[in-house]
Amino acid sequence: MRSRPIIAVAGLSLVVAVGGAFAADTERGGPAAPEPPLVSEPPGPAPSELVGRLRARDTVDDAIAREMAAGPLLADGAADVATARRVQPKVGRPGWLMEGAKAAGGRRSVCYAREGFLNCASTAAIAEQGVVTMVSTRGDDVSIEGIAVDGISAVDITLRTGKVVRAPVVDNVFLIEANEPPSEVRWQGAQGAKRQSFEWLVRLTDEAKAREQAVRSGLIP
């Protein structure tokens, strides 16, 4: 009976020590747990099988502006600008959908470029989820937008205040402008109702805002 508290204290000490060592390691960025191996994953469906806008006939309007094609978003060949199709969400800025450069293992992707932003998602992820949501910010301006596969007509975006905004899908894309990040996005996919949580992004946003206030007020030099 007497030995139990001793064992418990020893065990707790070990947990604290291991935990402390782990925290110290992760603060420096290591050690890295192994990434799932890059085995022969299927490359995913062709982008045009999922996104009807990419099947549309190429027109003069689809050409990406030279400045954007040669700029830092696209100049390194992250996406194939020759496949670009101009898209115009129901509201807000236009953009361009295009095929992404093939990744390791020949994995395919779809990219979405617009004023100062670029996102690419694997076609495997797009096919699995039906929707890939992007959240971009400049200061207090928050754009919540994304790519939706054929057959999805709208997504419901819950802002962190609880307000729900329906964003129609036009040209396989959707967009709403807000001044707060989303907490959740819901949609009806081919396999039923789906949702994506953005609590992780809300937490990061809150931490960044607190830090920014500290920097601007001189608390962080």
């Binding site: 992760t26 603060e27 420096r28 960025g29 290591g30 050690p31 890295a32 747990a33 192994p34 990434e35 799932p36 890059l38 085995v39 994953e41 400045e67 954007m68 040669a70 700029g71 830092p72 978003l73 100049a75 992250a78 990744a103 390791a104 293992g105 994995r107 992707s109 990219c111 004023e115 100062g116 932003f117 670029l118 996102n119 690419c120 998602a121 694997s122 495997a124 992820a125 699995e128 989820q129 890939v132 949501t133 992007m134 959240v135 971009s136 910010t137 400049r138 200061g139 207090d140 994304g146 992780w200 992004l201 990061l204 960044a208 830090r211 920014e212 920097v215 601007r216 007020s217 001189g218």
Partner: protein, 155 residues
Amino acid sequence: MRSQDRFRGCLLALVLVGVFASVPAPAQTPCQGDSCLPTTGYTYDTHWNCGGFYGNQVCYQPGACLNYICADAHTFGWGSADYDGTASLNVAFAADAATATAYPPFSNSGGSLARACRRRDCVDTDLADQRYWERVSHDHLNHAHTHTIKGHGKA
């Protein structure tokens, strides 16, 4: 007729000079004209990563750094978060103000590659008091695996 034409020409020139003199020059435009591409102006290019890290962590430039305290500040105008693995996750890139006078922060997330420019046209401004910390992260919470997200920044 010739003297009248000259007079009209001089008058037109004076009006044009007056009009253009009253138009303010665009602020902080590093270059203009057909030869000026948006990449002009970026003189610093950096890649970083932290090895594998969890979804509740963030990885700062210059790498091997999971807290802004060890982050380097630069006059960043562009950044990128890139995941090359096979897991289905979303990456995020963000540039946070590192100086009190910095422009507003900028960020982008979603998919396996997310890139963002401070300006809509992606032109760099490179002002000494506009310094940012850049960081990358991912949304794979509650999973046993860490993931390596590669950061890339230009200033």
